[in-house]
Subunit: 115 residues, 4 copies
Amino acid sequence: MRTISKEMQACIDACLSCYQMCFGMAMSHCLEQGGAHVKPKHFRAMIACAEMCRDSAHMMLMDWTQAKSLCALCAEACETCAKECEALPDMKDCVDECRRCADACRKMSGQKMAA
Amino acid sequence: MRTISKEMQACIDACLSCYQMCFGMAMSHCLEQGGAHVKPKHFRAMIACAEMCRDSAHMMLMDWTQAKSLCALCAEACETCAKECEALPDMKDCVDECRRCADACRKMSGQKMAA
Amino acid sequence: MRTISKEMQACIDACLSCYQMCFGMAMSHCLEQGGAHVKPKHFRAMIACAEMCRDSAHMMLMDWTQAKSLCALCAEACETCAKECEALPDMKDCVDECRRCADACRKMSGQKMAA
Amino acid sequence: MRTISKEMQACIDACLSCYQMCFGMAMSHCLEQGGAHVKPKHFRAMIACAEMCRDSAHMMLMDWTQAKSLCALCAEACETCAKECEALPDMKDCVDECRRCADACRKMSGQKMAA
């Protein structure tokens, strides 16, 4: 009965998966590791990415007209978080999740995929 | 690197799935159908269930000490929503999702499963 | 100790006030009234406005670099909601709150104020 | 037109004020200070308090039947955060906000006030 397109559902899935990874990692692994993992630039990028993913999924579930614009912002937040996590040796799962979500969000927003 | 137990991850999955079903159905199908689907008691049960599920997942992702107490409340909200949706002929997917999530939340909270 | 500017705090206040008005009115008054108050276009505009306001406040509290872009989207959601509410005789408080928040969000985003 | 009681509105105000303080302080001051301010126990208490406050306000805005139970949990989260913040010399604003919110939430939940 729900009329959300396959492409939009795939983007919702990617967003909720990335939200779980970034918020879960930040609040457990990063806080436990300390040091570079809780540097403001890194930690804020992770929380911001998690929240933008959660919010984008929410507006897509409503099929709201601004969902695509939100996805474009979300793709940027995911890229920022991926770059921050690449600088640390133990955040590869997070990097991969962020890149996947950035791709799904760019596709949803009508932008070209990353090369 | 994340240390969340299998049981807790299963409950997070059930909560995020039920959140998507209830919020998505409320904001599309129920609003489009109108009538009994937007009666305050029914519609509020759906939104409350969606939000309790989203919040419970969030606190489990933090592995916060109160997550089990929240899951106990979430199980109640899911049961209330399931009962509301059973009274309508076209909400079976939502009923099933709510029952599944109520079971997962009861299990997580340490309560006995529904008979 | 918090370093948020006066202008940004004013926008956070406007967003959290508009969120309360729109979400509170939608989930009580609009559902109780029924009829035009639960037409999909009207009701979705109210919930979308409430959520965009809540999310924008959240990203401003983090002083996240994308907060201004979110505020620009939030201003649009507030205007859409204000227009929907103007068409009903009993939603003046909501119209006023949405216009105030749209102005604050436009100011924050660097856009010109509405004429 | 909204029918929320004065007491409930006071609790919503306390919750949204405490949410702003705890989330804003955590994501700026605590991350910038580092050291004891980003110890897992302290930082998680602040984020958990912020989220419980935000969620409790949301369910009160819906006047949902479980709002009082959520407020009881929220009061506990506020007390935990207040105790954590008391151990640091520069978090007095946060301690005061958490105590105020804990009192408002206990009152709303029907529990006796703290002595």
